[in-house]
């Protein structure tokens, strides 16, 4: 294994650049999914707490379904399912050769799963905000949207941060699944490299190390972010951090 380290280098016949590009794709799909998934999750959370029974029912069904079925299955359903449905629809009106880009399919599928998981975090955080905060906002004459944006949301972020950090870590690892719908992320490149060079141990170990580096950076980043958002708040035992 160690005699073949040049295979993952940047020189002639090395896969270094390809692996870096794969790492770039992995990070881009994770970052592209994040805002979409979090925003949808927040919308689902607001539905789960709304006064309308239909909205609550929808939120329950949504979270139960997408938290309960494997991410791989969701990915297949969206990639093949939507593709076939749209193709059939378009063939009806005479357009042929439609296909979804795997990046879009992956982003939508992962975002929908992320929304289901993050909505639970949002609900918990929304519940932790005292009713008096909204009432005080209303007393000041703020509109409903203003109360949410100016009063609730800033406090929400602090409580939701640890849970959302976990969601991000799960998302980062789940992106490895998009390689099965031919998106050229780290896993895809590692698979191609190992079948070309017959050195799977080297390539998958390298891929694992890249993921580990991403995870360690994320852990460090979220720890700092949490410390920053908690400044001024009394910590356990009455101490301030």
């Amino acid at each position: 294994m160690f005699s073949n380290l040049h295979l993952i280098g940047f020189g002639d016949g090395g896969w270094g650049w390809a692996l870096l590009q794969g790492a770039g794709v992995t990070i881009s799909i994770a970052l592209a999914t994040l805002p979409f998934g979090l925003a949808l999750g927040l919308a689902i959370a607001l539905m789960a707490r709304s006064g309308k029974p239909v909205a609550r029912w929808f939120a329950t069904v949504y979270t139960t379904v997408f938290r309960g079925i494997p991410e791989l299955l969701t990915l297949y359903i969206f990639y093949f399912g939507v593709q076939i449905l749209v193709q059939r629809g378009l063939e009806g009106i005479g357009i042929k050769g439609f296909s979804i880009h795997p990046f879009v399919a992956g982003m939508v599928a992962l975002g929908i799963v992320l929304a289901a998981f993050s909505s639970e975090v949002w609900v918990g955080a929304l519940n932790s905000i005292h009713k008096g905060q909204r009432e005080a906002g209303a007393a000041l004459g703020l509109s409903k949207a203003q109360i949410f944006r100016l009063v609730v949301l800033p406090q929400l972020m602090r409580v939701a941060l640890p849970g959302l950090g976990n969601n991000w870590m799960v998302l980062l690892k789940e992106t490895s699944l998009v390689s099965v719908i031919t998106l050229q992320d780290i896993m895809f490149i590692a698979q191609r490299g190992s079948s070309n060079t017959k050195e799977p141990l080297l390539f998958f170990a390298t891929a694992a190390m890249i993921y580990l580096a991403f995870s360690l950076v994320s852990w460090w980043f979220f720890e700092r972010l949490e410390r920053r958002s908690n400044r001024g708040h009394a910590a356990f035992g009455g101490q301030t951090r």
């Binding site: 297949y76 399912g81 993921y211 580990l212």
Partner: protein, 238 residues
């Protein structure tokens, strides 16, 4: 007609009639993978947590590195590392007489899932043990209990209640993640579904698979609610 042909017949679904039995076999493989790996991982995870908390410093650090690696990399990557990567060392495994193990995708998936879930469960147990108040340790010490007796009779019974919910979540996560086993040529529920789809191009087979996964997850969720209620019936709820 075998029993597994019936659901497809009743639902009038041709694809489920053709592949119902493969799906049933796949469901069995998924259950085997999950039940065995989570049980083994539970024992290993508890051991790792104890080593991390009470073992020598170097062992604690080693366990920390182990959990960080397995929690920081995707399960898919670990599975490929074991199945394709360790499979590359064939002459070595043949020498030590373990090739029969690393040759089989089923054993490779089982091995990967076990060491993966052991890392997650170790963290669950560590958190649960650390959540027990210091006074409990001191009380046991004051009663003259031996270290192991303290753990066994005082700490672990309380820690297990704390760990119950996250352990249930881990079981659910494993049921879902076990679907990656289908990517190393294993015909678990996901593998059977993929096969059925690739031959029939009938999308409904994915929906039937989704219903089966949902049913498994939902049963475990309900079961865990009942278990939690029963185990915490002596605890005063706010």
């Amino acid at each position: 007609m075998r029993w597994c042909d019936h659901p497809g017949f009743w639902l009038g679904s041709e694809v489920l009639q053709n592949y119902g039995c493969r799906m049933a076999t796949g469901l069995g493989i998924t259950l085997q993978l999950v039940v065995i790996s989570v049980s083994l991982g539970c024992v290993a995870g508890l051991g790792l947590a104890l080593v991390r908390l009470y073992g020598p410093r170097w062992a604690g650090l080693a366990v920390g590195g182990y959990t960080t690696f397995f929690r920081g990399t995707p399960l898919l990557c670990q599975l490929f590392l074991v199945y394709y990567g360790l499979g590359q060392l064939r002459p070595f495994w043949q020498d030590v007489g373990l090739w029969w193990f690393f040759r089989e995708p089923f054993y490779c998936a089982l091995f990967t899932f076990t060491i993966n879930t052991a890392a997650y469960q170790a963290e669950v147990f560590r958190g649960a043990i650390q959540s027990i108040g210091r006074g409990q340790f001191e009380g046991a010490l004051a009663l003259g209990l031996h270290r192991w007796a303290t753990l066994r009779h005082v700490i672990l019974p309380q820690a297990m209640i704390v760990a119950l919910r996250p352990l249930g979540n881990e079981l659910i996560v494993m049921i879902k993640s076990s679907s990656v086993a289908s990517l190393v040529t294993l015909f678990d529920l996901m593998g059977a579904t993929r096969l059925a789809f690739s031959r029939s191009f009938d999308l409904s087979i994915y929906l039937y698979a989704a219903i089966l996964y949902l049913a498994m997850v939902e049963i475990i969720r309900r079961l865990w609610d009942v278990m939690e209620k029963r185990l915490t019936r002596h605890v005063v709820v706010r």
